[in-house]
Amino acid sequence: MVLPTVALYVILSYLPISGVMLAFKEFDYAKGLWGSPWIGTQVFRELFGLPNFWRAVRNSVSISLLKLFCGFPVPIVMALLLNEVRGKYFKKTVQTVTFLPNLLSWAVLGVVFTAVFSQTQGYVNHFIDAIFGIRIDFLHDSMWFRPTLIVTSIWAGMGYGMVIYLAGLTVIEPELYEVATLDGAGRFQRMLHVSLPGLMPVILTQLILSVGYMMYAGFTQVYVMYNPMVYDVGDIIETYVYRIGLQDGNYSLATATGLFQSGLGVILMLAVNRISKKMADRSIF
């Protein structure tokens, strides 16, 4: 009964995986994937010589790390704070409002944010102009592009993390809170010394996943928001693959880049998983 599914998997997932051998071939359009001549690691040697490739790698990792440092704590803090709220309707409303952005496509968000951050028409610049007298081209200025990327990414993803951490908070034993109160802890201290440590297992798991996916800096978001003026800070591996592959037609290079990314990604994922298993006895397998 499961055979059709397996067949689908084989065709749609594994066949393309075999296509990574393109990374070792010199693609000849006439001969196609199977007929092109094998040239070994020459493609990779050529790839590693391209400065734009390393720029893309640098950008991917930088953006991921920035998103991690700035964005990772946000849903945790929000969940902790929201957990302290008494009113059920208030809690539900905040959760609903913060979660909604997660359901929106970046195609849509790209349009909205281009308008919102627009130098001439967006309300962000309107307020900045009113207070500081200057206007910032958030989406075209290399200095501001990454912060804009990160802030919007936090905005869109915050609700998702909050759900996870709020769920994690519900499994903390109430007795711990009672003991803390008896010892004289106020709400803020209880949050710091009971809620936060109780959330650690969930936090660690999420951290493993985030670090494991570090090679992937959020393609759809960057794709809708970037433009040639910010390639130096915003071009990530996947956008690079898209440009040299589908736009320039450089199939071998593009495949090699993709292989580099997923290969490193797998290694990273396994390494982080092993470290976490050793250190905190937590694993995702």
Binding site: Y14, P16, L33, E84, A107, V112, H126, I164, G186, T255
Partner: protein, 293 residues
């Protein structure tokens, strides 16, 4: 001392509440901007540069947007692909999850590997594109449905749910002579309804929002899904604005922000409409994922 502690708590509660309200408002602001901009009459649009004040109400922008037949067609295409993908996804996850619960099955480990590996490692953009080309899946809405239907992640969650069901149910069904298919149809599916609802919703939303791969494989504009059409429209508008061929003030209607936001709101409408009704399923879906991990 207890009085001081209580007022400290009260202060914390107050500050906390205010802070959360502020965050919620800032969070909602872009959405409000899109909504408000889409219903602003043209004069009000010119008067308030932030487009944040609710200075009026008109459905003119929506009328302009809906006058374009492509909007309707791409919307229908999007719905079709979403429906097809969800159905296919449910089929694949149910069959594979159930199969994996059969502990006596030889080669079960291999099956798990087969399903798990694509979650972490893929062929990449170009190889996948070339394979699709060879299989004649390009430029086809039916092909697009296949793109989103394989989901190892949800299969694992469904399998966990199925494992949680008591074995006696299945045993008694087998004693009554039920085959695999009947067990799945009459027992597993009804009992896993909540999980299946989560999967359907998550896959549905994901498919509706998907535009990148859909854009790559579709050459025929009449087959665009809604998000692809939105992207195409928007990039065209950007180019127009860039060259100054249309300005936002009294220029071609397609260049105004009200028009853009109307299209945006149309695109977001399916999700926003069902969201309050089924929010708990989204939450449950995420929680199941987190707990499983």
């Amino acid at each position: 001392m207890s009085v001081r502690r209580m007022s400290g708590d009260r202060l914390f509660g107050l500050v906390n509440g205010l802070f959360l309200v502020l965050v919620a408002m800032v969070c909602f602001l872009p959405i409000w901007y899109a909504l408000n901009s889409s219903i602003l009459p043209f004069k009000a649009y010119l008067k308030d540069p932030t487009h944040l004040l609710p200075l009026g109400f008109t459905l003119d922008s929506y009328r302009d947007a809906l006058r374009d037949a492509s909007v309707w067609r791409s919307f229908a295409n999007g719905l079709l692909v979403m429906l097809g993908t969800v159905i296919l996804a449910l089929c694949t996850t149910i069959t594979s999850a159930y199969t994996l619960t059969r502990k006596q099955l030889p080669g079960r480990r291999i099956l798990v590997c087969i399903f798990l590996i694509p979650m972490f490692f893929g062929g990449g953009l170009i190889p996948t594109y070339l394979v699709w080309k060879q299989l004649h899946l390009l430029n086809s809405l039916w092909g697009l449905m296949l793109a989103g239907c394989l989901n190892g992640y949800w299969m694992l969650i469904l399998k966990a749910t199925m494992d949680g069901l008591p074995e006696s149910l299945e045993e008694s069904a087998r004693i009554d002579g039920a085959q695999d298919f009947q067990v799945v149809w009459y027992i597993m599916i009804p009992l896993c309804k909540a999980t299946l609802a989560c999967i359907a919703l998550m896959v549905g939303v994901g498919t509706w929002n998907e535009f990148f791969w859909a854009q790559i494989v579709m050459v025929d504009p009449s087959k665009y899904t809604f998000m692809v059409y939105l992207r195409q429209l928007f990039t065209r508008i950007s180019i127009l604005q860039g060259t100054g061929a249309a300005s936002a003030v009294g220029g071609v209607p397609t260049a105004t922000i009200t028009f853009q936001m109307a299209i945006v709101c149309i695109g977001v409408m399916p999700i926003v409409i069902i969201y309050p009704l089924v929010q708990r399923y989204f939450v449950k879906g995420i929680m199941m994922g987190a707990i499983k991990a």
